[in-house]
Symmetry: C2
Subunit: 180 residues, 2 copies
DNA sequence: AAGTTCATGTAATTGGTTACATGATTTC
DNA sequence: GAAATCATGTAACCAATTACATGAACTT
């Protein structure tokens, strides 16, 4: 599938970056839907280099520190565009350990279950608040074809996802109280 | 992490099953949040057996066909209950290839992007309709501590998730039309 | 001077998919 | 008789995490 490959190509299409920069992106908005650690990124960059999809230039930071600034080669750009234009089937399962646990909720004591749900609720609410704060800084009417357009789509997606999660947790807590 | 381990223990807590039965569960409602193929299930069962968490009895189906019907041993049940009661941090990323692609939407032509969004929308709407049909068959007021309680929680969760996805896709399609 | 962030890599292990392999049972 | 489903396993490979390893640059 090589999804990480395309995530990296896409980021490099936006602008040249180091492996470190790529890792940082996965900790930002993009990290809501894809993530990789540096231990996966550096080998993938090496492979993309060997495949002739990307190239790099050395930049010196400070006195001696060498940074490898990667950017797309034409073959890499073509590969990316082809992938972006493919109409794939929806992925059947986004795994979720907490919801798996809730499937077996009947084995948890009522008070404890409410605690667990509240703990998740708190975390999800915080996440949602953070995303909404980001949305406030965002261009609300991004131009088609601008990178802000993609930023907007994924941010809105993340917000809607978290809202649904919060709604579910709230309903579940209520249900814990009212259930026989 | 061994999440599959607990998914299996949880299923066996509900009732004794074969590996084949477990695989079937991952194709049903539970499959919305966790999934494993038989090639992962059988080795895991073997391991749980070695660890003394489960045991099995041979059942004969038809003339000669042997089924291994697994069930929980006390140690397995204890292990499961401990896991169910742990308050874990929320998982930071549920990977989504399509949303990753949309992050790079600026590299897709408008008409094609609308096609891709509509394709996903169709699939998600179908999925949602299927889930809602299941909800109609479901006990709307499950008793606390019954297995129906867990069934209800995850089904509602799946529905809310799909609704949010559909809402996002619809908004995104509209935005494609109105964006400069 | 100490702590954090920048910066790049490799090794070992775990988790998960795809493919290989076989055969009985049920349904049409 | 053919096709679908039931039933159990292994092997090879790919994806991802955790841990190991190092050192420069910046901030306090």
């Amino acid at each position: 599938m090589r999804t990480l490959k395309y995530a990296i190509l896409g980021l490099l299409k936006r602008k040249p970056r180091t492996g470190y920069d790529i890792a940082k992106e996965f900790k930002a908005e993009l990290g809501n839907f894809w993530r990789a650690r540096h231990s996966q990124i550096y080998p993938e960059l090496k492979r993309l280099l060997e495949e002739g999809l990307i190239e790099y230039e050395i930049e010196i930071a400070g006195e001696t520190m060498e940074k490898k600034v990667y950017n797309l080669k034409p073959a890499g750009e073509k590969d990316l565009i082809d992938w972006l234009n493919t109409d794939e089937e929806m992925v059947p399962t986004a795994k979720d350990k907490f919801r798996l646990r809730m499937y077996f909720a009947s084995n948890i004591k009522r008070e404890r279950l409410i605690e667990l749900l509240n703990s998740q609720l708190k975390q999800r609410q915080d996440k949602l608040a953070m995303l909404e704060a980001k949305m406030d800084e965002q261009d609300r009417d991004p131009e088609f074809g601008s990178k802000e357009f993609g930023d907007f789509l994924v941010l809105e997606s993340a917000i809607l996802r978290e809202q649904a999660y919060v709604e579910w947790l709230e309903r579940s807590i209520r249900r814990c109280y009212i259930a026989k």
